[in-house]
Structures are given as C-alpha cells and as structure tokens.
C-alpha cells in the first residue's frame, strides 16, 4: 500500500482549525459584537484606520494567512460533514470544496494586493 497524499489537505485543515479556533472568535467579537453594541467605539473600525492597518505588508501577510488557512479548513470540514450526512460522492464534493477554497485564496490575494 502506498502512503497517502491526504496530509496535503489535512495539514491545511489542521492548521486552519487551530487558527480559526483562536482568532475567528476574536474577530467575530470585535466586528460583530463589540463595535455594534458600543463596547468599543466606532472609530475602531473606521475606514482610514483599517486601511492603514491592512496596507502594512506585515499585517497584509497575517490577514492572508488567516483567510487562506480558514478557507482550506472550511473546505475540508465541509467535505467531511457531507460524508457524515451520508452524501456518498466524496470525489465530487472534495473537488467543489477545494475549488471554492482555491478561488477564495486567489480572491484574497487579488484584493489584498490592490490595497
């Protein structure tokens, strides 16, 4: 039996899982709760401030990392969830999921480079 190549997608899935578990809740808290409910002032998400932040190459790279790994995590999670729901078309589901993640990755690169 040959060794599997699944570590490629699983590695991204695992790394993405760790990142999303730690960072996504913080981002949801800041953008979805803290600012709308007035715990933090609106200036936290002010356009100029966020623009300056994202324009910095270091933070651009960090943001890309978060988006990239989260997308590939979500893709693999979706693939496994479909399997758990009894959808027996793993190859098709895998192709669609990873294609979406790849498109998202490309989109993130383009958008980040344009800032």
């Amino acid at each position: 039996m040959a060794k599997s190549n699944k570590p490629i997608v699983w590695g991204l899935f695992a790394a993405g899982g760790t990142i999303t578990a730690f960072l996504t809740p913080v981002m949801i808290f800041v953008t979805g709760l803290a600012v709308p409910f007035g715990i933090m002032g609106p200036e936290v998400l002010a356009y100029d401030r966020i623009h300056d932040f994202v324009a910095n190459w270091f933070w651009k790279l960090v943001l890309f990392g978060i988006i990239f790994f989260s997308l590939w995590h979500a893709a693999h999670r979706f693939r496994i969830t479909m399997h758990d729901f009894g959808v027996r078309a793993d190859r098709v589901v895998a192709k669609i999921s990873y294609l979406l993640a790849a498109l998202g990755t490309l989109g993130a690169i383009v958008l980040l480079l344009r800032i």
């Binding site: 040959a2 060794k3 599997s4 699944k6 570590p7 590695g11 758990d84």
Partner: protein, 247 residues
C-alpha cells in the same frame, strides 16, 4: 434483593440453516445487581440451551462478551440491567459476520492487528547480559493509556467508517500501533507507517469519535488516530519538502 422481569430479545442466526437472522424473546427474572451477561447466562442455563454467545472473565478484562445492547456496542458483563428498561435487545457486534447467534467472526480485526506489528521492535539489539531496558515514569505515561486495550472490538462495531469501508484498519489496531510507536524502547515506527500512513490507515478516519465513546477501558482510540494524523502529516511534508531529512 429485588427481582425484576425483563424481556430479553436475542438475535438468533445459524448461517447454515437459517435464511435470515431473527429476534427471539425470553422473559427473564433478573436480580437487581445483574448485568446483561447474567441474563443471557440465565437463558442458556434455564430456558434455551441453544443460545450461543462468547464470554469468559465476567469482569471487563478479557474483552470477549462484546455485543450490541439496545443498538449500542457494550461489554455485556459491564452493562448493568438496572440501567436499562424492562425490555432489552441483544444483537451480535455490528460490522462483523455472524458465526452463530451472538458469536461473530473476528478474523478481519485479527489480520489487521497483525499488520500494524503490535509488539516492541527494539531500537537496538540488546543481550540479556546488557541488563534491562530502563523506562522513566514519564516515558511509561506517554503510552500507558493505549496498553489498556482488551481487543473487545466494540470500537469497530461503533465506527461508521469501518462499516462503510471494510478495508479501514480501524480504531483498536491503530491505537495499538500508536502504543508501540510511543514506547521509548521501540524503533518500529517506520515499519508501522507503511500501514498507518496509507488511505486505509489513519486517513480513512473521519473523526466521528464513536470508538472512544464506547471504549470500556478509556483507551481513546480516536485521540490516538488524530495524533498519528499529525505525525504522519509532519512526515509527509518532511519527505516531500525536505527530502534530505530522514523522517
């Protein structure tokens, strides 16, 4: 001691004479402290001597009395009747071929267990005169949990993935491969990886986690498999991105 009448349904099947398995019902006077195995033994001794089932130690050590109790894999010697309603259904362990009634054919598991080399493959040859292999408490703790497996195969009956893909090496064999990989005296990981790191090895697992839930010895095979996935992933990246480094 209080007595309770329990209706015990047992799946009966003799592949040589029966077309299909069927449930047979027995009314059993059960004592408060009885386990499911006691009820089945009562049936065998007093009602129907033709019922076939495996058991040995009656204390959750031997691992031979595993069966489906109300649809869930359990050791019948560890399942107290007081935890069940007045009607229970006993079936042979799921995902295994039936030999007779509650007795299943475990050849597939035995063959897979053998393939992961569940024994110490010494790191270096050491003769008796060289003295014993020393192991610190920390080194022992690293793998001790996985030594508790009693090969009862409840995890195989619980694993939906094994049911779907019979080639999957499965939880217990994986947990035991992990047990020897983690042993400080062992040097056989590379050999076991030939089985562990394949599609039929850890990568068939979709981390449902049912194996760890039904394990009567808290071995946590699901945890072992996830740890092996991480290690196999590190191996893969090393092998492909850093071919000069030996995994």
């Amino acid at each position: 001691m209080s007595e309770r009448q329990v209706e015990v349904e047992i799946l009966r099947y003799d592949p040589e004479t029966d077309q299909a398995p069927k449930l047979q019902s027995y009314s059993v006077p059960c004592q408060e402290e009885w386990v499911v195995l006691d009820a089945i033994t009562y049936i065998k001794d007093h009602i129907d001597t033709t019922v076939s089932f495996r058991w040995s130690c009656h204390m959750a050590v031997c691992g031979s009395c595993g069966m489906m109790v109300n649809g869930e894999p359990a050791l019948s010697c560890k399942s107290f009747l007081r935890d069940y309603p007045d009607k229970i259904r006993i079936e042979p362990l799921a995902h295994f071929p039936i030999v007779r009634d509650l007795v299943v054919q475990l050849d597939d598991f035995m063959e897979k267990l053998n393939r992961v080399k569940p024994y110490i493959i010494p790191k270096e040859k050491k003769s008796v005169s060289d003295g014993q292999h020393k192991q610190s408490p920390a080194q022992l703790k690293a793998f001790k949990q996985y030594t508790l497996c009693i090969n009862c195969t409840l995890c195989y009956a619980a694993c939906p993935q094994y049911g779907l893909v019979p080639d999957f090496i499965g939880p217990a064999a994986m947990a035991l491969a992990h047990r020897y990989n983690l042993d400080s005296r062992d040097g056989g990981r590379e050999q076991r990886q030939e089985v562990v790191a394949t599609d039929e090895g850890v990568w068939e697992c979709s981390f449902v986690g049912a194996c760890s839930e039904v394990c009567p010895k808290q071995v946590d095979p699901a945890g072992a498999i996830q740890q092996m996935k991480i290690a196999s992933t590190v191996d893969w990246y090393k092998e492909h991105l850093m071919p000069w480094s030996k995994p």
